[in-house]
Symmetry: C2
Subunit: 223 residues, 2 copies
């Protein structure tokens, strides 16, 4: 028996993704639902970060999650079990990203009347997801310490489209050649306006700053 709803996403038939994305954003505005698009490499800690974040937020606002994955549904199940919130799995059928139409297919399966915030955990990939506007209000990404502080130089588009960069796994910084200031400089070279929050999803460090940012965002979107 499936523990969470699993949606097989079909490839978008619409070429005009930017228009689709804008339309979706307008609809979400009308419904008072804030959509956050969360991107990262595989293994950066997206799911653990979400569990921590949702457990901080769920008494204050109503949160739902859409987990996009090529195949498995381990993440959606993990989030549902750890937080109890609405959590659905989107299967991309091998596709490396989500566009606005694919995001809409996911949202059609979320009870939006019971959500203030929907978080879309995009496919683990620093390349393709950066190229497609999903219709989210903001893009956020996680860069984890073991990946290295040079990643903004190597994946420039991803860093330039993100409003928020979470730097995760700060607890292992002593074991890696990772310089936080150099990393911040590299991010700001690509995107001077990016907000950067160091976090450790495992210990919970920095999650308060992230949730504070999110709460402000959701409240001003719903006005």
């Amino acid at each position: 028996m499936e523990k969470v709803k699993v949606i097989e996403i079909k490839k978008s038939v619409f070429a005009e993704n930017d228009k689709d994305a804008d339309d979706l954003r307008k609809e979400l505005k009308t419904k008072g639902v804030y959509l956050l698009n969360l991107m990262s490499s595989p293994g950066s800690g997206k799911t653990t970060t979400l569990i921590q974040t949702i457990n901080w937020l769920k008494d204050k606002i109503r949160v739902a999650v859409m987990e996009a994955d090529i195949d498995s549904d381990v993440d959606a199940v993990k989030i549902k079990e750890a937080t109890g919130i609405q959590s659905i799995q989107l299967h991309t059928g091998g596709m490396c990203h989500l566009d606005a139409e694919m995001t809409r297919q996911g949202l059609d399966n979320v009870a939006l009347e019971d959500a203030d915030l929907v978080i879309l955990e995009n496919v683990g990939n620093l390349v393709c997801p950066a190229e497609f506007d999903t219709g989210a209000v903001r893009n956020a990404m996680i860069l984890s310490v073991p990946e290295g502080d040079d990643k903004p130089l190597k994946y420039p588009l991803m860093f330039s489209v993100c409003d928020l960069v979470l730097i995760n796994k700060t607890d292992v910084m002593p074991y890696f050649d990772f310089d936080l200031e150099r990393c911040k400089d590299n991010v700001h070279q690509r995107n001077p306006k990016a907000k950067i929050i160091p976090i450790c999803a495992k210990t919970g460090e920095g999650i308060d700053a992230f949730t504070e940012w999110l709460l402000k965002e959701v409240n001003s979107w719903k006005k």
Copy 2:
């Protein structure tokens, strides 16, 4: 002044990638050149692994490297400076993978008469590069400990197309919830024939086993 040759790769005009890849492999066989396609997530340690490996190999066989990246050329420069071998940079212009025709564009810029082994460092991405045969003799990948032992379940195609899986950054295993045996089981679930070698590119541990495998491969290809 450019420190290494930088090639701007154009999108392939040929739809029949599998045929192109087979043709390229046959040509390489005739020329006695072995091509290895090395894939991984961003930040798994591909470049550091290559530097260690090349320094072990370069007195035994002639090695050349093609570094594929969306934009920067830091990796090709780093490899050239650390090893002194032929090292060129392929710019994919935002593209998330290389196919056989794009690989050929790169090889056209390598002095193949001076190479026994060419290593293609593919774009850092666990999704798209798995879908395209580059014309390489073998596919190898690096999974690093901080990414987690569950990645074979989440990126099944990548693990199923790889003949060799290097598990890198074994030195930080005590700081992560990573079980080597569970990881091996997960890899073999997807690909029972995959050879797995744990390595630590930073300390050099396991690089001997990797180079031994590579030498055997190259020698039998050249027969």
